[in-house]
């Protein structure tokens, strides 16, 4: 990187390259014309257009030209710098120049993809190219700085994605803090009976992972806890975790559940969250039999002792000398230092009440797919019996797909799993009840491995499929066979007429939505959300688990709807990305920090208070401001505000920006 900047002379020799990107740019921007235009600009020695600049021959072209034409500045007009700036900087460096003697022009995302008029788009490409050519003249050789990475990792969310990421990292010898907001890890998968398309038991594949992560020597598991504060930056995050009071000391409780038996509430009375309200629990409870950790907790809203202080405290007697129950437990804040963070906070299910015509909440035998899931599970509230609310067995059932998915009125996206999930439930439904099962669908989407075969299996097993979006569910009988039944009104779009189909039970395949507090979580970790509210990946194809904040990765359904294999694949990818940072030991930071030209600083101190990172201090002896480069994040706020113009920013120097302004306006 210590190359001479001017090849022995002070002359600026610019190489300009415009990329056709196949037809992506070439079809809308007249690339040869732009190259012709730029070839006449001052300082431009080489000006070329090429099919794919990012390809190997494209990059070699730059390197060869640097050598042959003694270039000392490179400008490439192609896609967004957020995609390929690094590629071309590296090519520039391989050609023997400092990588920061490079400037990129975005004529794809900002030009050819958003404009249709060839003349206008070409004019814009000329203007942007002109700006970069003027700008690059003022570029300086810079060195990246290296920041060490703290080797520990924070994983947020203890669903299958979070568990898998934590285990992968733990197995690789990394210290992991796994934080889960619910009293047990397991997430949505813990509520499932079997998983498609293999129909293997969800508990049998999940619970071993749950206990493995709990007992792993490298994993610290904090359930019933939430991340409340994140400070710092990649490599050096300081995270504050709030541990909510369980009113039970985790280390002392052995999970014998004697306290639950002896509670003054003889019968369970309160809605059980894990069974989505299909069963009851006591004020002191364990979320589900396989919960990890096997530690009871007390619901402070329901427990007489916590609420009123007046209870016989039979639980305390039952706990006896273990003394695990502590009614005075307070929330606790723990601070940890980590270098990287994996966010795997999952999804929430669509609230079926938002589509009133399907009668959820109105007709008791309209249930959601998750409720049915709990009913078919042998460890569920009915021990695996699918029953109607009156206790009888359903003889007919209808599954309505795309409830809260692919719907302009609610959510536009496809939730991806409901087709397969419904077919799985339909097969289990038949197995458990021998009922007639009909699935009402718009399109069956079964693209995963083994999924199309699973659809075939569903057909072979006699599940009926009717294509059409269900209009409404009603209990208004028009014929004797409809008496006492729920009637599905639907236009059968294959047969071409409206049907009325009476059934005993209706299952709504509710779609996935971002968590209610996704926006707060996004702010906490300095991430972005897409239009729909899912966390935004850095690049939809090339960086699917990275975010725009270095060192923060995403995995699982918080990034968008996906099934278990995809969630696990992402979790593994996120763990690998984190490890790639940790094992390298450092991160190279963009050298876009601010610096002070001391002779020009008037010592007015106006910058000191502006810095959000307290990177600027004041030297009283010298009466000058000082910037701590390690703390500076390169926003440039102080640069813009310095009244004497004595603060400058690498990569975004005033001259560079002024020359860009001049350049974009130079061409008519």
């Amino acid at each position: 990187m210590s190359n001479p900047s001017h090849n022995g002379t002070d002359e600026v020799r610019i190489g300009f390259y415009i990329c056709h990107c196949g037809h992506n740019i070439g079809a809308v921007v007249d690339c040869p014309a732009v190259a012709e235009y730029t070839s006449k600009l001052p300082g431009v020695v080489v000006s070329r257009d090429y099919k794919y600049m990012c390809s190997d021959p494209g990059q070699e072209l730059i390197q060869q030209d640097i050598h042959d034409h003694k270039l000392n500045r490179i400008v490439v007009a192609s896609c967004s710098p957020l995609l390929h700036e690094h590629t071309f900087r590296t090519a520039t460096e391989r050609g023997g120049l400092n990588p920061f003697y490079f400037q990129m022009v975005n004529i794809r995302e900002h030009d050819s993809w958003v404009h249709t008029d060839l003349i206008e788009a070409t004019a814009k490409a000329r203007a942007l190219a002109h700006a970069a050519i003027r700008r690059v003249r003022f570029h300086k050789p810079l060195e990246t700085t290296r920041v060490p990475i703290h080797p520990d990792v924070l994983v947020v969310g203890g669903g299958i994605s979070g568990i898998h990421a934590a285990l992968t990292l733990g197995n690789a010898g990394k210290k992991v803090f796994l934080v889960e907001r619910e009293p047990s890890i397991g997430g949505h998968m813990a509520k499932f009976d079997k998983t498609f398309p293999t129909l293997d038991c969800a508990a049998c594949i999940l619970t071993p992972k749950m206990s493995a992560v709990r007992s792993h020597e490298n994993v610290t598991l904090w359930t019933y806890s939430e991340v409340v504060k994140v400070e710092g930056y990649v490599g050096n995050y300081k995270v504050t975790v709030q541990r909510k009071p369980r009113y039970v000391i985790e280390d002392l409780c052995v999970g014998c559940q004697e306290c639950i038996k002896s509670c003054v509430y003889k019968e369970p009375k309160f809605s059980d969250e894990f069974n989505v309200g299909l069963s009851k629990r006591k004020p002191i409870y364990i979320p589900f039999p396989q919960a990890v950790p096997q530690v009871v907790l007390i619901d402070p809203e329901r427990c007489l002792q916590v609420k009123t202080g007046k209870c016989k405290k039979t639980c305390l007697e039952a706990c006896a000398d273990r003394q695990a129950i502590d009614f005075n437990q307070k929330e606790e804040l723990i601070e940890v230092k980590v270098g990287t963070i994996i966010v795997a906070t999952g999804f929430k299910l669509f609230d079926a009440k938002r589509i009133p015509q399907y009668g959820y909440g109105l007709y008791p035998n309209v249930v959601t797919s998750l409720e049915l899931e709990r009913l078919v599970t042998s460890s569920g509230p009915t021990a695996g019996d699918i029953i109607l609310r009156d206790g009888s067995k359903p003889k007919t059932a209808g599954f309505i797909l795309c409830v809260g998915s692919r719907d302009l009125k609610t959510n536009r996206w496809c939730s991806r799993t409901c087709c397969m999930h419904s077919m799985k439930l339909a097969q289990l439904f038949k197995e458990h009840t021998d009922a007639d099962v009909t699935i009402f669908y718009m399109d069956i989407r079964a693209p995963g491995k083994g999924c199309e075969e699973f659809y075939d299996k569903s057909l072979r097993e006699g599940i009926r499929f009717i294509r059409g979006r269900v209009a409404e569910v009603t209990d208004w009988a028009l014929a004797p066979e409809e008496e006492g039944k729920l009637v599905i009104r639907v236009e059968d779009t294959l047969a071409g007429f409206v049907r009325r189909i009476p059934v005993d039970m209706i299952v709504l395949a509710v779609g996935m939505e971002p968590q209610v507090d996704a926006q707060e979580v996004r702010r906490l970790f300095n991430m972005s959300c897409g239009t729909e509210g899912w966390f935004l990946e850095k690049h939809p194809k090339l960086a699917p688990v990275s975010t725009f904040t270095d060192g923060v990765f995403i995995a699982g359904c918080c990034q968008g709807p996906k099934d278990i294999p995809d969630s696990i694949a992402q979790a593994g990818a996120a763990a690998a990305e984190a490890m790639a940072l940790i094992d390298r030991g450092y991160i190279e930071q963009e050298p876009n920090t601010a610096y002070i030209v001391e002779e020009e600083c008037s010592g007015c101190k106006s910058c000191v208070v502006l810095c959000p990172y307290t990177a600027i201090s004041f030297d009283d002896a010298k009466q000058k401001a000082i910037i701590n480069e390690a703390l500076c994040k390169g926003c440039g706020t102080c640069v813009a505000s310095c009244p004497s113009g004595s603060i400058k920013q690498h990569l975004f120097e005033d001259e560079q920006i002024f020359s860009e302004i001049e350049g974009v306006l130079a061409y008519d």
């Binding site: 975005n106 814009k124 972005s528 440039g636 920013q649 306006l665 008519d668």
Partner: protein
Amino acid sequence: MTEKNWQPRIVAFFCNWCTYTAADLAGVSRLKYAANIRIIRLMCSGRVDPQFIVDAFARGADGVLIGGCHPGDCHYVEGNYKALRRFQMLKRMLDDMGIEEQRLQLEWISASEGDKVRTVVNDMVEKIKPLGPLGIPKKFEAWDKEMAELEEKITSSEPVAAPA
């Protein structure tokens, strides 16, 4: 470019994390919008020096657009608030200079709002079109000419030198 098919030229300063990314997203989504805008990337809207804006106008921009993250979402905590303060002050100054307020706009556009880039740019172009060219460079030319003429006048009348 003739007066008839005159098109406003808008210089935009977009922050790297939200608005520039949103403009990338607009591209990836193939949204179509007016080609009048020339985007300059900065790391943060807080880097936008009022001088950049004045300079853009002076060099012939008909409008300037600043794009930053939504309040509370700034990648650098609060750079966008600084941008907002400077924007408010500068607006008053531009008003005094006779530059219409529609010519300077500040918009919060998050990384996910590709469509907002489209509507903001199109709206701004529509707002500026009826105002016509700002033409500050032409005014500079006129002023320069005035000065030159004045100078010419003074030098030509030099024979009447100052009394010795």
